[in-house]
Amino acid sequence: MAKHRALKVIRPPALIHGNAAIARGAIAAGCRFFAGYPITPATEIAEIMSREMPRHGGTFIQMEDEIASMGAIVGASLAGVKAMTATSGPGFCLMQEILGFAYATETPCVVVNVMRGGPSTGLPTRPSQSDVMLSRWGAHGNHASIVLAVSSVEDCFHVTLKAFNFSEKFRTPVILLSDEVVAHTRAIFSPPEDDCLSVINRVRPSVPPEWYIPYENTARGVPPMAVFGDGYRHNVTGLVHDVRGFPTEQKEEVRTFYERIHRKIDLNREEIELFESFFLDDADICLIAYGSASMAALESVHLARKVNLKVGLLKLTTLFPFPSKPVEEVLNRSRIVIVPEMNFGQIVQEVKNLGVCQTRIIPMNRYDGHMFTPSEILQKIREVY
């Protein structure tokens, strides 16, 4: 087992960009394996990890493509090391099959998608939020997903840490959505002391190997995870498997498998659904936003409040499982809800799907490769107020 070492270094505040903060968050979370392939606008994460991984006793490898990167991180995680890859749209598309394998085998890992315009090569150096539904539904077959979105340097650090914690706790891949604006916007960042951070590690089996049931149908739905080399010698397969990890087509066993990998996420929605509220108490109009759009939205709320417009913001960090409870509250309370997104309307569909009350839900979409500005959101608020 590669030796892991926690570095005790003095960390002064630094001016860093979002990609660097993701790398730092991953290291703080205990990530000690990174496999990747160069792609704009995510490349800096790989560059930083190539420098930092060996210093922390970990491993960096540049693979031959994104498929290989995804395979390598799943392999590393199965061997007991926390692992991550980072990419953008085209690479993220290539990762979908092995991402599905990670869902099926319940292998913890973190996949960062720094979103750029698409489809295809699209707008490599321009921001977008058009991979939201791809992140939820990209891998074929029935699976529950955890998808988190980051909006600032501060977010990049802390939400990356959360992503690792969720992946370890619930034995699932976690998708971290950033975008080109978040990736390359710099801010002063003061790294917290390691002692202040809560880091979760997967639960390992405590029973003797002959008693171990690798995919046991427990109430919580997350069985302890043995890793290769620790003496448990279990079988891992992407075929639908029984509780012992062997392929099955028995309908009872198949149903049990699918229900458990959904249940373990569903039962923990409250813990997984991360969001922040700004000025919602008396808000007449509410913005629902995520990623870099939520930064512009927050500024527009400040501007609106200055001219006595009762506007609030619900900033979503967790996109999936979709935080329906806070969104429903907002829908029940507000006259109008505006959903600014850098796409043709993806999260707004989830908002509409809740189907509550008579609140007007207004999509606000940008897909010209440029970020939202606070003034244009304010203008929209004024139009509908």
């Binding site: 491993t59 498929i67 390598a72 590393a76 199965l78 079988n235």
Partner: protein
Amino acid sequence: MQESTHLIHQYLRHDKKFPHLWCPGCGNGIVLGALIRAIHHLGCSKNEIALVSGIGCSSRMPTYVDFNTLHTVHGRALTFATGIKLANPALKVIAIMGDGDAMAIGGNHFIHAARRNIDITALIMNNSIYGMTGGQSSPTTPFGSVSATAPYTQIERPFQVAEMAIASGASYVARGTVYHARKLIGLIEQAIRKPGFSVVEIITHCHVQFGKYNQMGSHIDMLKWQKSHAVPAEKAGSLSDEALKDKFTIGVLANRDFPIFDQEYEKIRQAAMQAQP
């Protein structure tokens, strides 16, 4: 027989729902037998073996044996194997693939694993066909033969698996057949022992698909074909081109020393960790 019984008890999984899915007469069982004997000869603990496979008939092998076993997705076994080896270098990582798995969908990973010369043993069972899906052409289907997707004959030339591994930089490359079962044990044993990327191409038969399409007879006939077409590598040098026509060499084809990725990385890791204040 006594030895076989002992090995079966020691290495096959007893909680697995046997029987296996291979057709009667398939060569995959001979390969599994050779692999188990090689590991047994090496005296490895079952805990230190990670057996990784892709998708296809041959890739079902790991499920049956009592090691750390991983049955991955089509073509990508070597990418998972790479992650496992680097995360836990103490493991002996063995990747099992078929010719379609390793040479078509996984061809890129194969040449890059060889180029990196990472300490993984790759066993490629070459039966010249996609067996599981019903006999379609693979990248090793011979020119002029017939398959379910080449009903008018195959017009593409086949990859030479072992030669490709040599050209791509693998430390150790050998070719064996399931007919030469005893020799195969030794080749696999050497491959596992050799540090760096080791490849054993194993010529096997699919009488149910390839044999049927090409009138090659029963599995016995196809084993005889292996016997009559295999030339020991050490003898090939003294034979004329005419004598070697339609033949293939077996034995150790390359055994050399190149920098090994995991060892080189460990040097970087040690230096980087010491450089810290």
